[in-house]
């Protein structure tokens, strides 16, 4: 378990050094995306109006308030990633995204794409929006504003984290490991509860 301070954009090397259970703190920029954003990107085949090569994307529908031209933060948290599974391989392969931040993880398709292209999944603590909102210094830009709160958000972040490497670029998947362990323990637990 090592800790890394990473600055965006990320290189392949930045990502390849990470192993599951390592922790990461990010400085630079993180892009907020979600269901509707990726439906437009991949089901409607529209390229995003911003370069995502080396980017870190976070699954979020931020609560913001627009005052004049500026977007003020109200509460920015993270949503469940599993819904984004089918979008993630092309996000990595076609647009060069190097890391996805979310909760609950992604599945085999994304894990393969991460291994092939050099990307990873960074787990954030779900529900910890107060901290996340504080670590996001500013909402610098909003693209595809008509999709708000599922637009593309460019967040400037300072010491964002700690994030936990839960899927690395070497085929390791922490959620799957935990599940495997539970399956092994379950017969004993059933017995203890008098179920079987």
């Amino acid at each position: 378990m090592a800790h890394y301070n990473l600055t965006t954009p990320l290189s392949e090397e930045d990502v390849r050094q990470l192993k599951v259970r390592d922790t990461v703190t990010v400085n630079g920029h993180i892009f907020g995306i979600r269901d509707a954003t990726q439906i437009r990107m991949f089901d409607h085949q529209q390229a995003p109006p911003v370069d995502l090569r080396g980017a870190i994307c976070i699954h979020t529908a931020p609560s913001l308030r627009k005052v004049g031209d500026k977007w003020e933060k109200i509460s920015i948290g993270t949503t469940t990633s599993t819904r984004m599974e089918r979008f993630t391989p092309p996000l990595i392969e076609n647009y060069g995204v190097r890391a996805v931040v979310g909760k609950a993880g992604l599945l085999e398709g994304s894990l393969d794409a991460m291994k092939t292209s050099g990307a990873c999944y960074l787990a954030i603590v779900g529900g910890a929006a107060a901290l996340e909102t504080t670590q996001i210094e500013e909402v610098e830009a909003v693209y595809w504003e008509d999709l708000h709160p599922e637009a593309i958000y460019k967040f400037r972040v300072k010491d964002f984290g700690p994030l936990i490497v839960a899927m690395d670029s070497h085929g390791n998947h922490l959620y799957f490991d935990v599940k495997k362990q539970i399956t092994q323990r379950l017969p004993e637990l059933y017995k203890r509860l008098g179920i079987e």
Binding site: R21, I74, A104, V125, A128, A129, P162, L193, I195
Partner: protein, 293 residues
Amino acid sequence: MAEFSYQLVEEVAKELYIRALKYLPPDVKEALQKAHDRETNETAKEIFQTILKNLAIAEEKSLLICQDTGLPIYMVTMGSKFLLDGAKVARALSKGAERATLEHPFRGSSTHPLTRINPQNSVGKGLPVIHWEFDEEADYLDILMVPKGSGSENMSAMQMFIPADGVKALKKFVIDRVIASGSNPCPPGIIGVGIGGTADLVSVLAKKAIVRPVGSTNPDPELAQMEKDLTDAINATGLGPMGLGGDTSTLAVHIESAYTHITQNPIAVNTQCWPARRARAKIFADGKVEYGF
């Protein structure tokens, strides 16, 4: 004595929604702190540190603990020694929830089930959810506000077993549900279990189970034992905080029960996340308001 103003109920309903989103009850905070202190898995320990830091920042900077402000649920107990007009109380609760959303402001999540149109006010047909109870001794109106986020609520489930399936089917349902939910409901939260009643009542019992303070036990010794056995078994799975492995996978299993039909054996699980939010107020006839959890 001046006539009671339902405007006060509306103000309290608004205040409770906002308080619930920012300040966790002391029993939940203490349970999270204890889970942190005894955790042996390094990753899990780091997660608990982040959770505790988040709670401190939310209180210090008056920020929302979690961005999912949920659907508003009000559990109301009317005292026989302070009778009020229930319809007016219901309207005041709805208005209070709407005003919290618009005036704080925060994201409203209520949505039409077919058109998916979101009025951005946290209410709508059937919302807020209001549960009514009555207390012959009470000389106040007790309102418990529970904002319920979707990450946890989506993992809830109910099942009508048959009597021949016995108690073991109920226990298996709970532990299997928690495992299948994995990291989705932001564990370790409170697992609310309803046993008995009808299909509707069992679901309400499970919801009432999640609002019991952590550390409380069911007064029925048999159910209290089942709560303990299930809590221990779930923690022994190793699911851990956020499903990334660790010693604590639930803060507590709470069971609430009711009599059921001779041919029925219903169970419901209502999943609560680690930000197990709730806020309470007691309103008295003279307009005095006592806030708590």
